[in-house]
Amino acid sequence: MSDRGSVAAEARTAGEPRHVDPEVGLLVGEAAQQRVPAERAEEGAPPYAVWDRSVAREERAAADTTYYDRPVIKEPVWIWTVPLYFHAGGAAGAAAVLGAVAQGVERRRLGRLVTRCRWMGAVGSALGSGLLISDLGRPERFLNMLRVFRPTSPMSVGSWLLAGVGALSGASAVLASSDGLLGRAGDAAAYGAGLLGMPLAGYTAVLISQTAVPAWQEARRSLPVVFMGSAMAAAASLLALAPLGPREEDAVRRFGMVGQIASLAGMLAVEREVSRIERVGAPLRRGPVAALWNAARAAEVAALLLSGFPGRSRPRRTAAALLGTAAALGLRFAVFLLGRASARDPRATFHQQRAGRGAAEVTGTAGVASPAGDGGEAATSAEG
C-alpha cells in the first residue's frame, strides 16, 4: 500500500532520514548532517540477506564458529576506478623511471622515448588522479590529500608521490622542447620524476597490503614485485602502441619483458603466500577471481612470448602490447577482487589469525584470545 505519506507529516520532512520534524527538534548532533539518499534503493540492496541457515543446535555445534557467516571486516569500498588507477599510476611511475634512465644514459639518441615517457608520467598521473578523485566519497575535497603528510599511510605517501610525479613530469614534458636554463630545469624535473616514479610504480601494492584484508596482507611480500612488474609491463605496452625509433622500441620491449617476467614470478609467489591458509587462498583456486587471475596470467605469458620471439612485425608488436595491457589490467582487477572476496569471508580472517598469522606473526607472542580451557591456543601452536 502506498499510503505512507497520505496523512502523516512526512511531507514536511521529506528526505530527512532521521524522521525528525525540524519544527520541533533541532538537528545539530555529530551525524546530523550525514546524508542518506531520498530513495533508499539508491544505496543498493541491504548489505545482508535473511539468515536462512537453521540455527539448530547440531549445525551450530561446529567449532568453526562465525557470527552468522557475516564478514568480520568491512569489504573495501573502492570502485573499479581504483584498479584502473593502479594501472595508470603504475605506468606513469614506470614511464617516469624509464624516461629518466633513458635521459641519463642516451638522451640524444632516445629523445622521443624521453619525451614520450615525460608525457606518459604527466598524463598517467593526471588520469590516475582523476580516477582516484572519482572514487572519493567527497570528490570536492580531493585537495585534503595534501593536507598532511602521514608517513604511516601509504596512501598519504602515494598522494605526495603522485602529486610530485605529476607536477615534475608535467613540467618536464612542457619543457621538453626548451633549451637552456628551462631545458635544464625540465631535465632536472624529469630526474626528480624518475626518482619519485620508482616507488610510485609499485606503492599501491604496499597500500593494499596495509589493510586488514587477509589475502592482501598475506601477499604483502610478493605483491610489490607483481605490481612493479605489472607497472613496467603496462608502461612498456602502452609505449609500444605508438611508433618509436628502433632502439627505443627495443629498450621498451626489454623493459616490458623484464616487468612481465617479474610479475609472473610474483604471481607464483602470491599464490604460494595466500595459500598458506586454505581459506585465504580459496578465491584464487576457484570462482570468478581465479578465472580472471588465470586469464591475466595467460595473457601475460602470451604477451611475453610474442615479445620474446625474434622478428619485429608491427602487428605482432601491437598484439603483444594489447595483450600486455590486458594482462596488466586483468591482474590489477584480479588482485582487487581477490581482496574483496577475502574480506567477505570471515573464516579467512579467523583461520589466518588462529594459525598464528595475525599479530603473532610480528609480535612473536601468542596473542590469540580465547576462553580459558578453550582449545584455540593449542590449535594455534599446532597449526602455526
Binding site: 499510503d3 524522521h19 520541533v24 539468515w51 536462512d52 537453521s54 540455527v55 539448530a56
Partner: protein
C-alpha cells in the same frame, strides 16, 4: 524470582537493580516458557508450560509447609494463618475442582461458606457489591466485622487457615509439578530450596511479575499463590521482599489510582451500584470497613463529591450522590466492545491507546468500530484503531468497503509529554511531575486541554437546562485557570484539587487523615492527599539520589503518605524490633514513643507494638500494634481470602481456556467462574486436544517496541531494531512443519489467521507432557498495518475470555496451528465467516465440569 515477567526485556532500567542485586550475590530465578533476555542473565531458568504457574507456585507452597521452612513468627502474627474458617467451607479437593458455593447456572460462587467461623459477612470493602450481585441477596446485615472470632496460634486446628492451606496444596508434589508444568523435578526442587534459603530473618526474596501472570483466566489467583509463598516465607512488607507488579505504561498505576476504569472512582472508591446504592447512606454503609483505613470511607467519598460538585454537594442533598451514574454489572472494555459490535454503543473515545492491535480479537474490535456512529481517537499519529475504515485487514481484502462504513471518525493530534505539565504514577506508586519543555506544534493539544474545553463546551450546550439529568454537568466544578495563547489548563491547579483543600478557606491538606465526612474538606483522590502539602508540588521534588538515603524519600512523592514500602510495619517483629540488623527498615523507638526508620512507617506513628484495641475501639484503633496490613480490616495478610475474590478463597490450578492437555488434577478443567463471550464471532477451540490446533501459543513483548506499537513503530531508531512481525519456534517444530528460518508461516486460530516471519530458535523448547512432545509458538504482538514497519497483529488470534475478578483477557496461553508459507489475500477473520470447520464429532467437549455434587444443583453445565 521473576515469573510471569520478562523483566530484562520489558523493564530494562528496573532490571538494573536486579543485576545490581545479582552482583552482590543474589540468586536470580526466571520461570518462563521461553528462554528470554531475562533468562539469559538469570542464575536459574525454569522453562514452564504457559498457563501452569499456579501448579508451580503451589508446589513451592507445599514444599515450604512439608519441609517446615515457613517463617513461623511472621506467619502466626502477621497473616491470617491462625484464623478459623467456617465449617461450611469445602475445598477443591473435596469437590473435584470446585469450592463450596458454586452455582453452575449463574457460573458464580456464593462466597458465604468461605468466611471466618462465626462471621456473618466478610470485612473487605471492595467486594460487598460483587457479593450482592452474585448472591442476588440484598444487604441487610450490620456493618462488616473486623476480624475472625477464633484463632489457633498453634496452627493445629483442622479448620484454621494454615491447615486448610496445607491440605489444599498437599496435592502439588514435585511429581505433579513436573506433570503439569513440564518442569523437571530436580530443577523445581532447586528453585524451592533456593527460595527458602534466601528467606527468613536475615534474608528476603522478592517476586516480580507482569502480564505473564495477569493475562489468564485465573490471573488474580496466580498472584495470590505468590502472595501465599511470600507470606509463608515472611517476605512481605520487608526490604528486598514483596511481590512487585511491573507495570507496562508510564502512568498505568496512576490510571488505576485515579481510575479511568468503569468500576472505580478516584482512590479505589467503588462506583455506585444500581441495585443497592440507592442513596449516600447505603453507599457508605456498604463500603465502610469497621477497622483499618477503609473505616474512614465516608470522609473520602464526601470529600470527592465536594471536589466535584462544590456547593451543590450538601449534607441535605446526600452530598449530590444522585449525580453519580450507577453501574449494574460488568462494563469493562471487552464487554463494551461486544456491546459495540452488537450496535449498542454509539460514540467512543480512545485516548492514547490502540485496542485494535493492543487487546484481543482485532476483528471483533473492528466490527465494533464499524457499528459506531462516531469515534474520537487522540494519539500522535493515526493508529490502526483510527484507520480501521481505511487500512484494516477486512478493507485490504475487500470484504468491507470504506463506503459502507457509517462511522464518523475524528483524529485529534495529541501533545507529547514534553509539551505539557503533569504527573505520572510509576509502578512503585511514585508520583513524578514532568515539566513542559516546549509548546505543542500545530493543533496538537494535551488531553487536559481537550477534556477541559470539551467540558466547557458541554456546560455551554446544557446551560439553562432544567432537566435533572443535566444538573451534574451544570454544577460540576470546572474552573481551572488557563495558561498561554492556547488556553492550556493549569495542571498544578488540577493537582491541588486532587490533593484536597478545606472548603472554607481553600487551605491545602497535608494528609488523608485530615479528610472529614462533614463537607468541610474537598479532595479529588484521597490516597493522593498530601502530594501538594504545604503548597509544594511534591511530585516535582528532585533531590538527587546522591544527597539522600537509599530510600530517597525526597525524590517525588509516593502514595499514601509518601510511604515507599507498603506494610513496612512487617519489617519489624511483633515487639517492634527489626527482624535482623541486616534487614532493618522501620522500627519502634521506645524512647521517642514512636515508629521510626528509613521510610515513613506504615502504621499510626504513635501506636506502640504493645497496643491492643479496647472493647470500644473503632476504625484505625481496632488494629493492634502488631497489625501491619492496615488496608485489611483485620490488619493481617490473607493466605486464605475469606472475601475479595469471586473464583475461590485459595488458588487452584485450572487449565487455560484452550489447552493442550486435560487437567490432571480435577474434573473441572478451567476456572469455573471465568468470563466467556459465547457468540458466533468469538468461537473457542476445544478445551484440550483440539486436533485442529495442536500447539501452545503465547504472546509477549520485546524490548524494542512498546505494547501496540503506537509509540515505537513510527520511530526509525526503534523500528530498525525489530522491523517485522515474526514467530519463534523450536528447531524440532520447524523440522516437523517444514518451516525455514527467515521464511514465512501462517498461524491460525478459530478467530483469525496471520502471516509472520519465522525465527527458529532453541529458546522456545518443546515440552514433554503426558509422554508426548508439545510444541510452543511464541508471538510478539507489536505490529499492525500502519507505521514504518508492518506486520500482522498477533492479537487477531485471541478470543474474548477473561479473568472473573478483573476482566483481564487471557493472552498468554492458548492453542493454535502453524503452517509454512504465506496466505496472501486468502487471510480471513472470523467476523467474515468461520475460519475452520467445526468438528463433526464430539470427542472432547469445549469444557468439562464435574457432575454437580456439593455445588447445590443437579443440573449438568453447558458443554460446548
Amino acid at each position: 524470582m521473576i515469573q510471569g515477567s520478562n523483566m530484562a526485556e520489558c523493564h530494562p532500567v528496573g532490571f538494573r537493580w536486579v543485576m545490581e542485586a545479582k552482583n552482590r550475590g543474589a540468586t536470580i530465578v526466571h520461570v518462563d516458557p521461553r528462554f528470554t533476555r531475562t533468562s539469559a542473565v538469570a542464575d536459574i531458568h525454569v522453562p514452564i508450560r504457559a498457563g501452569s504457574d499456579i501448579a508451580f507456585l503451589g508446589g513451592i507452597v507445599n514444599y515450604i509447609i512439608t519441609h517446615e521452612r515457613y517463617f513461623r513468627d511472621y506467619v502466626v502474627h502477621y497473616t491470617n494463618a491462625a484464623a478459623i474458617v467456617s465449617p461450611d467451607f469445602q475445598d477443591t479437593e473435596d469437590l473435584d475442582g470446585l469450592f463450596s458455593g458454586y452455582n453452575p447456572e449463574t457460573r458464580h460462587y456464593d462466597m458465604r461458606s468461605w468466611e471466618y467461623e462465626g462471621q456473618q459477612r466478610s470485612p473487605v470493602v471492595e467486594t460487598h457489591q460483587e457479593y450482592h450481585e452474585l448472591t442476588g441477596e440484598p444487604w441487610s446485615e450490620g456493618p462488616p466485622q473486623a476480624r475472625a472470632e477464633h484463632y489457633d496460634e498453634t496452627l493445629q486446628h483442622p479448620r484454621c487457615v494454615f491447615q486448610i492451606v496445607k491440605r489444599h496444596f498437599s496435592r502439588y508434589t514435585p511429581e505433579v509439578v513436573e506433570q503439569i508444568c513440564g518442569v523437571p523435578r530436580d530443577l523445581f526442587l532447586k528453585v524451592a530450596q533456593t527460595l527458602c534459603d534466601n528467606s527468613g530473618r536475615e534474608r528476603t526474596s522478592a517476586f516480580c511479575y507482569a502480564v505473564g501472570w495477569t493475562q489468564h483466566t485465573v490471573g488474580v489467583q496466580y498472584i495470590r499463590t505468590a502472595a501465599i509463598v511470600q507470606m509463608l516465607l515472611g517476605n512481605m512488607g520487608r526490604p528486598g521482599g514483596g511481590i512487585l507488579a511491573l507495570r507496562g505504561h508510564t502512568s498505568i498505576q496512576g490510571s488505576t489510582d485515579i481510575p479511568t476504569l468503569y468500576d472505580l472512582l478516584p482512590g479505589y472508591l467503588p462506583m455506585a451500584k444500581g441495585q443497592y446504592d440507592a442513596d449516600f447512606g447505603q453507599y457508605a454503609f456498604h463500603n465502610t470497613g469497621r477497622a483499618g483505613t477503609w473505616s474512614s470511607f465516608p470522609a473520602y467519598a464526601v470529600s470527592l463529591l465536594k471536589a466535584w460538585y462544590g456547593d451543590a454537594a450538601r449534607a441535605d442533598n446526600d452530598w449530590a450522590f444522585h449525580y453519580l451514574p450507577h453501574i449494574t454489572g460488568n462494563h469493562s472494555h471487552l464487554m463494551t466492545v461486544a456491546a459495540m459490535a452488537d450496535g449498542r454503543v454509539r460514540g467512543y473515545f480512545v485516548m492514547g491507546e490502540n485496542p485494535v492491535v493492543g487487546t484481543v480479537h482485532s476483528a471483533l474490535h473492528s466490527k465494533g468500530l464499524r457499528a459506531l456512529e462516531w469515534l474520537v481517537v487522540r494519539d500522535f499519529a493515526p493508529t490502526e484503531t483510527v484507520e480501521f475504515w481505511r487500512t484494516g485487514p477486512e478493507i485490504a481484502r475487500g470484504e468491507v468497503r470504506p463506503e459502507e462504513i457509517k462511522t464518523e471518525v475524528f483524529f485529534f493530534p495529541a501533545a507529547a509529554p514534553t509539551e505539557k505539565d503533569g504527573s505520572f504514577t510509576n509502578t512503585q506508586r511514585l508520583l513524578q511531575w514532568h515539566h513542559k519543555a516546549i509548546e505543542p506544534p500545530g493543533d496538537c493539544r494535551s488531553e487536559l486541554h481537550f477534556m477541559y474545553h470539551l467540558g466547557r463546551r458541554l456546560k455551554r450546550l446544557y446551560a439553562g437546562s432544567a432537566d435533572p439529568k443535566d444538573r451534574p454537568i451544570l454544577d460540576l466544578v470546572w474552573d481551572y485557570p488557563t495558561i498561554g495563547a492556547i488556553a492550556e489548563p493549569d495542571a498544578e491547579a488540577v493537582l491541588r484539587e486532587i490533593n484536597g483543600y478545606t472548603v472554607a478557606d481553600g487551605k491545602l491538606l497535608s494528609r488523608y487523615q485530615e479528610l472529614n465526612d462533614d463537607g468541610s474538606t474537598a479532595c479529588g483522590c484521597w490516597i493522593y492527599c498530601g502530594c501538594y502539602a504545604g503548597g509544594v508540588n511534591r511530585p516535582a521534588r528532585r533531590r538527587p539520589r546522591t544527597e539522600q538515603t537509599w530510600v530517597a524519600p525526597e525524590w517525588a512523592w509516593a502514595w499514601p503518605s509518601n510511604i515507599r514500602l507498603m506494610y513496612n510495619r512487617a519489617s519489624a517483629d511483633p515487639g517492634g524490633r527489626p527482624w535482623s540488623e541486616r534487614k532493618k527498615y522501620v522500627w519502634w523507638d521506645a524512647e521517642g514513643g514512636r515508629w521510626t526508620g528509613y521510610d515513613h512507617p506504615d502504621i499510626v506513628e504513635a501506636k506502640p507494638p504493645s497496643y491492643r484495641p479496647g472493647p470500644d475501639a473503632e476504625g484505625m484503633d481496632l488494629l493492634s500494634g502488631t497489625d501491619p496490613f492496615s488496608l485489611h480490616a483485620d490488619g493481617k495478610a490473607w493466605m486464605f481470602a475469606p472475601a475479595g475474590l469471586v473464583d475461590g478463597p485459595l488458588p487452584t490450578h485450572y487449565e487455560p481456556q484452550e489447552s493442550v492437555i486435560r487437567s490432571p488434577l480435577y474434573g473441572q478443567q478451567c476456572n469455573p467462574a471465568r468470563l466467556e463471550w459465547d457468540r458466533p464471532d468469538n468461537p473457542y477451540h476445544r478445551a484440550y486436544n483440539d486436533p485442529r490446533f495442536p500447539y501452545v501459543l503465547t504472546t509477549y513483548r520485546l524490548t524494542e517496541h512498546h505494547t501496540a506499537g503506537g509509540m515505537t513503530r513510527w520511530l526509525s531508531w526503534l523500528s530498525e531494531l525489530q522491523p517485522e512481525m515474526f514467530c519463534e519456534v523450536s528447531p524440532e517444530l520447524a523440522r516437523e512443519k517444514g518451516l525455514r528460518n527467515g521464511g514465512w508461516a501462517t498461524i491460525t486460530t478459530a478467530r483469525g489467521e496471520i502471516e509472520v516471519r519465522v525465527l527458529v530458535t532453541d529458546r522456545i523448547p518443546p515440552l514433554r507432557l503426558e509422554g508426548r512432545t508439545v510444541h510452543q509458538i511464541g508471538l510478539p504482538y507489536h505490529w499492525g498495518s500502519r507505521g514504518l514497519v508492518r506486520g500482522e497483529a498477533a492479537n487477531a488470534l485471541l478470543p474474548f475470555v477473561a479473568d472473573p475478578n478483573v476482566s483481564i483477557m487471557e493472552s498468554k496461553a492458548l492453542t493454535g496451528n502453524i503452517e509454512p508459507g504465506r496466505r496472501g489475500r486468502g487471510r480471513r477473520v472470523v467476523t467474515s465467516g468461520p475460519i475452520v470447520p467445526p468438528l463433526d464429532h464430539d470427542g472432547a467437549p469445549r469444557d468439562l465440569r464435574p457432575p454437580a455434587s456439593g455445588a447445590g444443583s443437579g443440573k449438568r453445565p453447558r458443554e460446548r
